[in-house]
C-alpha cells in the first residue's frame, strides 16, 4: 500500500482524491479540474484501492454504480417485455402443452415464439430472479464501499481548508474583509440563526447542517435489501401459503392447510346497483354500462376443532366467529386471511320429483334427491319406493347405450331409477334427466316427474398466510424514511476563512438544492458583508453559451 502524503503532511490511503485533512487535490486529474468532485468527499474507497484478488474484482464489479444502473435498466426493459402479451398467470389454461397451444392460437407465431423464449413466464424465470439478486448484491456492495469512508471523512472534517479546495467549490468568493475581525463572529451568529452548526478555528469557520441527509441513500438501500429478503423468504416453507377453496352455501369444510379450522358458508350474496334505488347521479352510467355489481359477499362461520378432537373429526366444532367476507374485507384470524375472490351462482343442489300414474295422473308422493349425496333408496310410504340405480351428475349423452357424465359437478343431473308401486311390484326402470325421460324397457305405467330444483351459490375463497408481511412492511418503512431523509433534507456546508494575504475566502457546498443554499449564503453575505460569491458552474454555462453564440 502506497499512502499519499499531502503537502500539509497528512497521510492519505491510496485512491484518495482530495486530502482528508486540508482538501487539496491529490491526483493529477483532480488538480486539472476546475470544480472539485465532491462525491464521497474525495475519499479512497475499497473498490479504488484494491484490485488484485478475485474477491477484489467481484467487489469492484458490484460496487460500480455503472453496473448498478445497467442492472436497473436491464430489469426495466425485461419487465416491459413481459407486458407485451399476458403472462401465463393471466391466461385461462394450465399445463405446458395447453399454454403453448393457447399462445399459438390466440397470438399466432409471435405468441408461439414469445412463449417458447420463456417470456410468457418472465417474472418467475431463473434469469429474471438472478438479475434481481444481482441488483441486491450491487446495492449492498456499493453502499458499503461508500458509506464507510464517507462516514469517516465527514466525522473528522477540518475547519480550515486549503485555498485550492475552496477555489474549486461551486459557490466561491474571495475579496476584501470589510468588517475585519468581526466578520467571523457576525457570520457565525447569522449562520446559527439559519440553524447551522458552526465550528471555529483560528481565523476559519465551518458551518454545517443536515449532515444526516447524507445517510438517506444508505438508509433507503437498507430498506430495499430488507424488502428483497422478505420476498426471498416467502419461497421457504412455512412463511407463505396460498390456497383456494370452493365453498357451497350450507356446506362446512375444513380449510385447506389450516389445521383444525372449518368454514361454513351461510349465504353468498351478490348485489348490483339498482337504477331506481341508487342515487340518481349514477343513473346515466348504469344506463350506459348495464348492470354494475356493488357487492360480492359470503356470510361465513368460522369453527375450530375442540382441543381433544381427532384430526378430521367434525362433530364438536366450536364457533370462533361469524363474519361477512367481502371484496376488500377479508376474514382475518391468527396468521391467516380468507378472501372473497370468485363465485358461481345457482349450482343445482336438490331436485324434487313426483311419482305419478301416467294414465290417471294419480300421485304417489314426492321425493327430493340431494345432488351431493343422493340416497340409494327412497320410500314414499303407501308401498311405493324408488331406487336409484345410477347417478350421472353432468350427463352428456349415451355411449353404447350407457349414460355418460362429463364431470362430478351437478350441471345436468340424470338418474337411472327403478320405481316400485303396489300396482307394479316387479318394478319399472326409467332414465330421468331435467328435460328428458327415457324408458329403456318399454312403456311404463308410472313416471317420475321433475318438479323443481333448489340451487345454491358457491363462493371461491382464497386462503393466505404470509409471515413475511412484517418484513416487507419494515423494508418499505425504512425505504421511505431513507428517501425522505435524502430528498427533503440537504447537507449544506459553508467555509469562511481569512487567507495569508488578509483576504476573505468563502466557499459553499450542498449535495443538492443549490438554490436553497444560495438563498442562505445571500443572507450571510449581506449581514457579514462577505465578498459576493459566484456560481462557478453557472458562470461556466454562460461562458459556453457566449462561445456558442460567437461561433454560430
Amino acid at each position: 500500500m502506497n499512502n499519499i502524503i499531502c503537502a500539509c503532511g497528512h497521510e492519505n490511503p491510496e485512491g484518495t482524491v482530495l486530502c482528508g485533512n486540508c482538501g487539496r487535490p491529490l491526483t493529477t486529474e483532480a488538480k486539472k479540474q476546475k470544480l472539485a468532485d465532491m462525491r464521497y468527499e474525495g475519499t479512497a474507497r475499497r473498490s479504488q484501492t484494491y484490485n488484485k484478488s478475485i474477491i477484489d474484482k467481484v467487489w469492484n464489479f458490484f460496487s460500480s454504480v455503472k453496473v448498478g444502473i445497467s442492472l436497473i435498466i436491464i430489469i426495466l426493459v425485461a419487465a416491459a417485455i413481459g407486458t407485451i402479451l399476458p403472462q401465463v398467470l393471466f391466461v385461462p389454461v394450465r399445463g405446458a402443452a395447453e399454454i403453448a397451444a393457447y399462445y399459438e392460437r390466440v397470438y399466432g407465431s409471435f405468441g408461439s415464439i414469445y412463449n417458447w423464449l420463456g417470456l410468457s413466464d418472465l417474472y418467475g424465470s431463473w434469469w429474471f430472479q438472478t438479475l434481481i439478486g444481482m441488483l441486491g448484491i450491487s446495492i449492498i456492495v456499493a453502499s458499503l464501499d461508500r458509506v464507510v469512508p464517507l462516514y469517516k471523512s465527514l466525522k473528522k472534517q477540518r475547519t480550515r481548508r486549503h485555498g485550492s479546495f475552496m477555489k474549486s467549490q461551486r459557490l466561491f468568493a474571495q475579496g476584501e474583509n470589510i468588517l475585519g475581525e468581526d466578520t467571523l463572529s457576525i457570520s457565525e451568529e447569522k449562520l446559527k440563526d439559519l440553524r447551522y452548526k458552526v465550528k471555529r478555528e483560528k481565523g476559519a469557520l465551518l458551518a454545517e447542517k443536515g449532515r444526516f441527509a447524507r445517510w438517506g441513500p444508505y438508509v433507503n438501500h437498507v430498506g430495499l435489501i430488507i424488502f428483497l429478503l422478505g420476498v426471498m423468504l416467502r419461497t421457504l416453507p412455512g412463511f407463505y401459503m396460498d390456497e383456494t377453496m370452493w365453498l357451497r352455501e350450507g356446506e362446512t369444510l375444513a380449510i385447506p392447510e389450516v389445521p383444525g379450522f372449518y368454514l361454513e358458508s351461510k349465504e353468498f350474496i351478490l348485489e348490483t346497483y339498482d337504477k331506481e334505488q341508487t342515487d340518481e347521479v349514477f343513473g346515466e352510467a348504469i344506463e350506459r354500462v348495464g348492470t354494475i355489481a356493488s357487492n360480492f359477499q359470503t356470510d361465513v362461520v368460522l369453527y375450530k376443532n375442540s382441543e381433544d378432537a381427532l384430526p378430521g373429526q367434525t362433530t364438536d366444532l366450536i364457533e370462533v366467529k361469524k363474519e361477512s367476507i367481502q371484496v376488500n374485507k377479508p376474514l382475518k384470524f391468527e396468521d391467516y386471511a380468507i378472501y372473497q375472490m370468485d363465485f358461481r351462482l345457482d349450482e343445482l343442489s336438490t331436485m324434487h320429483f313426483n311419482l305419478s300414474n301416467k294414465a290417471t295422473g294419480e300421485s304417489l308422493g314426492d321425493l327430493s334427491i340431494n345432488l351431493d349425496k343422493p340416497e340409494p333408496f327412497y320410500d314414499l310410504g303407501n308401498g311405493a319406493t324408488v331406487e336409484l340405480k345410477g347417478y350421472y351428475p353432468d350427463f352428456s349423452g349415451f355411449e353404447n347405450g350407457e349414460p355418460q357424465t362429463k364431470s362430478p359437478v351437478p350441471n345436468n343431473p340424470a338418474f337411472l331409477v327403478e320405481m316400485i308401486t303396489p300396482e307394479t311390484p316387479k318394478g319399472e326402470t326409467s332414465f330421468v334427466a331435467i328435460k328428458q325421460t327415457v324408458e329403456p324397457f318399454g312403456d311404463n305405467n308410472y313416471k317420475l316427474e321433475f318438479q323443481s330444483v333448489d340451487t345454491r351459490d358457491i363462493s371461491g375463497l382464497t386462503i393466505r398466510k404470509d409471515k413475511t408481511l412484517w418484513i416487507l412492511a419494515l423494508g418499505g418503512v425504512i425505504f421511505m424514511i431513507g428517501v425522505a431523509q435524502g430528498s427533503y433534507f440537504n447537507h449544506r456546508r459553508i467555509w469562511i476563512h481569512e487567507n495569508n494575504d488578509g483576504q476573505l475566502v468563502v466557499a459553499a457546498h450542498t449535495n443538492k438544492n443549490w438554490f436553497g443554499i444560495k438563498k442562505e449564503l445571500d443572507q450571510v453575505t449581506e449581514t457579514a458583508q462577505l465578498p459576493q460569491y459566484i456560481d462557478q458552474q453557472d458562470a461556466e454555462d454562460q461562458e459556453l453559451k457566449k462561445d456558442g453564440e460567437k461561433s454560430s
Binding site: 419487465a79 342515487d279 356493488s294 430528498s487 443538492k512
Partner: protein
C-alpha cells in the same frame, strides 16, 4: 345531487378557461429576450398569470370536491376522473414550484400540458359511475391520489426539461437532438389530434355497430364512435349506412381502439402539417423564443428538485400503498399485472435517472432528456397501458 354534478362540471370548465388565459399571461411575462432581466411589465404579467392559475386551480379543486360529495366517493374511479385529477395535480405542482422558484416560463409550458391532459380526459365518458366491489376501499383514494400527486410533480421536471431543451438544443443545425425535440412536440400535437377527432365525430353523433368474434371465439358486439377504418375480427356490420371498414384485423387486435388511434394520428398530423405550413417553422422553433429567457442552470436544478420531491411520493403512492391495497383486495401484494409492472418500470427509470445524475454527472441536457422520457413513460402507463394492455386495472 344531479344539480351538484352539473355545478361540478361547470367548475371544471372554468378551471380550463383560467388555465388558457393564464398561459397567455405567462407568455406576456417571458416575451423579452434578454436573459436574466425582468422588466416591470413582465413582472406584472407573471403576477397576473399566477393569480389566474390559482383561481383556476381553486375552481378545479372545487370541481373535485363537489363531485366527491355528489358521487359519494373520491372522483378517481374511472379514466375521466383520474385524468382530470392528474391535470389538477400538475397545475398544483406547478404552483408549488412557482412559489419556490418564481419562474413564469415554467407556467407557460406546464399549463398547456395540463390543458391537453384535461382535454384528453374529457373525451372519456364523464358520468359518475358507482364503485364496483374491488374499488370499494379507502385505499382507492389513498393510493390513486398519492400516486397521481407523485406523477404530477415528476411531470414538472419534464416541463423544466423541455424548457431546457428548447433553449439549449441548437435547431439551426440538423441533429439528433433537434429531431427528437420536434418529435416530442409532434407527440403533444397528436394528443390534441385525439381530442379534435373525438370531438368532431361526437358532434356528428357518429355511431356504427358490429358483431364480431373475439379471441376466445365468442360472439360479441361493439359500437364505434368514429368511422371504422379497421374492422373487428370476422365483423358483420349492423349499421348499413356507416362506412365499410377498410381492413379486417385478427382477433387479438382491438380494431375499434386501433381506429381511434389512427384517427388521432390523422387529425394530429394534419394539424401539425397546417401549423408548419402556415408558420413555415418547426414547432420547436416557434417555441424557442419563449424559452430563451430561461436560466439553464435554474431549469436543470428545478428538474432535479422536482424529481427528488416527486420520487418519494410516487414510491409511496404507486408502489407501497398500491401493495397494501392489492393485499387487501386481491389477496396478494404484487401480481405482475401490467399496470403494476409499468409503475415499477417508472420507478426504476427514475432510480436510474438519479443514479446517472450523481454518478455519471448526467446534468443539464442529458438530465433534461431523461426527465422528458420519464414523463413519456408516465403517460404511456396512463394511456397505452389502460387502453391497449388490458389488465385488472383497466377502467370501465
Amino acid at each position: 345531487m344531479t344539480q351538484l354534478v352539473s355545478i361540478s362540471s361547470n367548475l371544471l370548465f372554468v378551471a380550463f378557461v383560467c388555465y388558457l388565459i393564464a398561459t397567455l399571461f405567462f407568455g406576456g411575462a417571458v416575451k423579452g429576450t434578454k436573459v436574466g432581466t425582468t422588466s416591470n411589465s413582465e413582472k406584472r404579467w407573471g403576477l397576473l398569470g399566477i393569480i389566474v392559475t390559482i383561481i383556476g386551480f381553486i375552481s378545479h379543486l372545487a370541481y373535485f370536491i363537489t363531485r366527491w360529495i355528489a358521487g359519494g366517493h373520491a372522483p378517481v374511479s374511472n379514466l375521466f376522473e383520474f385524468t382530470t385529477a392528474f391535470g389538477m395535480m400538475v397545475v398544483g405542482s406547478f404552483i408549488l414550484i412557482y412559489f419556490i422558484y418564481k419562474t413564469p416560463v415554467l407556467g407557460l409550458f406546464a399549463l398547456p400540458i395540463a390543458i391537453i391532459i384535461i382535454g384528453y380526459a374529457s373525451m372519456f365518458p364523464s358520468e359518475i359511475t358507482p364503485l364496483i366491489p374491488a374499488l370499494k376501499s379507502y385505499w382507492l383514494y389513498v393510493h390513486v391520489i398519492t400516486a397521481a400527486l407523485g406523477e404530477s410533480i415528476l411531470a414538472i421536471s419534464a416541463v423544466a426539461g423541455l424548457v431546457y431543451l428548447l433553449k439549449s438544443v441548437d435547431i439551426s443545425k440538423k441533429s439528433k437532438q433537434r429531431f427528437w425535440l420536434e418529435a416530442v412536440m409532434y407527440t403533444l400535437i397528436l394528443a390534441v389530434g385525439f381530442v379534435a377527432s373525438t370531438t368532431t365525430f361526437s358532434l356528428m353523433d357518429y355511431e356504427a355497430s358490429f358483431n364480431y368474434v373475439d379471441k376466445e371465439q365468442k360472439a360479441k358486439s361493439i359500437i364505434y364512435n368514429t368511422p371504422p377504418l379497421f374492422g373487428m375480427n370476422e365483423y358483420e356490420a349492423l349499421t348499413p349506412e356507416a362506412m365499410t371498414p377498410l381492413v379486417e384485423t385478427p382477433s387479438i387486435i382491438n380494431a375499434k381502439k386501433l381506429t381511434t388511434v389512427t384517427w388521432s394520428l390523422l387529425f394530429g398530423t394534419l394539424l401539425y402539417g397546417l401549423i408548419r405550413l402556415i408558420t413555415r417553422k418547426p414547432i420547436s422553433a416557434l417555441l424557442k423564443p419563449f424559452a430563451q429567457k430561461a436560466n439553464l442552470q435554474l431549469m436543470d436544478e428545478i428538474g432535479y428538485r422536482a424529481v427528488s420531491i416527486g420520487f418519494p411520493i410516487f414510491t409511496l403512492g404507486a408502489l407501497i400503498f398500491a401493495m397494501i391495497w392489492a393485499h387487501e383486495a386481491w389477496a396478494r401484494f404484487w401480481g405482475w399485472d401490467p399496470k403494476e409492472v409499468w409503475a415499477l418500470i417508472t420507478w426504476l427509470f427514475y432510480a436510474a435517472f438519479m443514479h446517472l445524475r450523481f454518478s455519471k454527472g448526467w446534468q443539464g441536457e442529458k438530465s433534461a432528456w431523461l426527465a422528458v422520457i420519464g414523463f413519456i413513460i408516465i403517460m404511456f402507463n396512463l394511456i397505452a397501458v389502460n387502453l391497449i394492455i388490458a389488465g385488472l386495472h383497466s377502467y370501465a
